[in-house]
Point group: C2
Chain length 199, copies 2
């Protein structure tokens, strides 16, 4: 024990955050205790509520505490008849930051990875197929990461989608091979949408 | 609003942590939501308890939820009759990590800074003087930072301490062990020359 139990516990708990080592955890704990207890309490409440109440959108699987996320709840976003398939909720944010896409999303929450036990079921592909079967989707944009797994996942989904009346494309230009979508700037992302190719 | 209110609020709240920008806050929120809700809930509890219950040690002013911190509560640490004055609780940790100091600490929680309204009262100097007046302290080590403010604070405290039967010292400044001379700033180098010892 370095300090008293509550301080030690706080420093230890902060290390669950990605990229936070022992030194950063200490600095974070001390800064909150010294200068910003109100912000610390607000974070405690936000964490508690989010961890307990946030689930997944019934339509697109992104994080939300409602049954539908704001994008799926918007009739305007449905009117385009486009679904963009991405791997993570962070990818949704990255594409939304560009502001050029007016359709809806489908969030796989991963990619096909048989060795890790991630198959079509884990990616919610039955739900995606249900959207296609309902006939309101005219275009499916596959925006999985440009990695081996992301490509394999895109092709797997394209094979399913070909059974329906829907044009299928894969985003193409601009996204660097081996890069992660989340970290691509919005201009590059816009280019990659414009240059999407039919699969 | 990017996601639903609870997710947005979590991302926003995480930014109160030092060094956490919008991208890191997002990554942290998603990682906790996707992979480690238990750790997130544990952090929420640790934060809530620490922000509400952690105060300052009545003897040395470091953070603790008890009236005395573990070091001040240890009779062994008092026996040496030494008090080391530091600016922050993090400094206590750094010195404890060395494992060579067996006395107690006094944590100023800052340094003299009249323009910011930080004077002797804010630094708890009356409490420090009380320790000296009680006559159990034989040595006072001034380990404030080697900055203009840290030096001024050390000199101010030394002036107070001279009224009591106590030896007063300032930690030595110089080239860090294992460091390369070439990369040490010129002020440090000058101090290290001035403080040179006969071999
Ligand atoms: Zn949704
Ligand atoms: Zn103490």
């Amino acid at each position: 024990m370095k300090f008293s139990p509550l301080v030690d516990e706080l420093i230890q708990s902060l290390r669950c955050l990605p990229g936070v080592g022992p030194k950063s955890a200490q600095r974070m704990a001390f800064q909150l205790l010294e200068r910003d207890r109100r912000a610390g309490l607000k974070l405690a409440t936000a964490l508690g509520s989010a961890m307990s109440d946030v689930g997944h959108c019934q339509s697109c699987r992104t994080f939300t505490e409602e049954s539908l996320c704001p994008i799926c709840a918007s009739a305007k976003r449905g009117r385009a008849g486009i679904i963009c398939v991405v791997e993570t909720p962070a990818d949704v944010l990255a594409i939304e930051a560009g502001g050029h896409f007016n359709g809806r999303y489908f969030v796989l929450l991963g990619h096909l990875s048989p060795l890790d036990g991630v198959g079509p079921e884990e990616l919610g592909l039955a739900r995606l197929e249900q959207h296609l079967a309902e006939g309101e989707v005219t275009e499916l944009i596959l925006a999985t990461n440009p990695t081996v797994e992301g490509d394999a996942t895109a092709h797997f989904i394209a094979d399913i989608a070909r059974r329906y009346e829907v044009s299928i494309s894969r985003i193409a230009h601009g996204v660097p091979v081996g890069g992660e979508l989340e970290y691509v700037d919005s201009t590059t992302l816009a280019l990659s949408f414009n240059g999407r190719l039919p699969l």
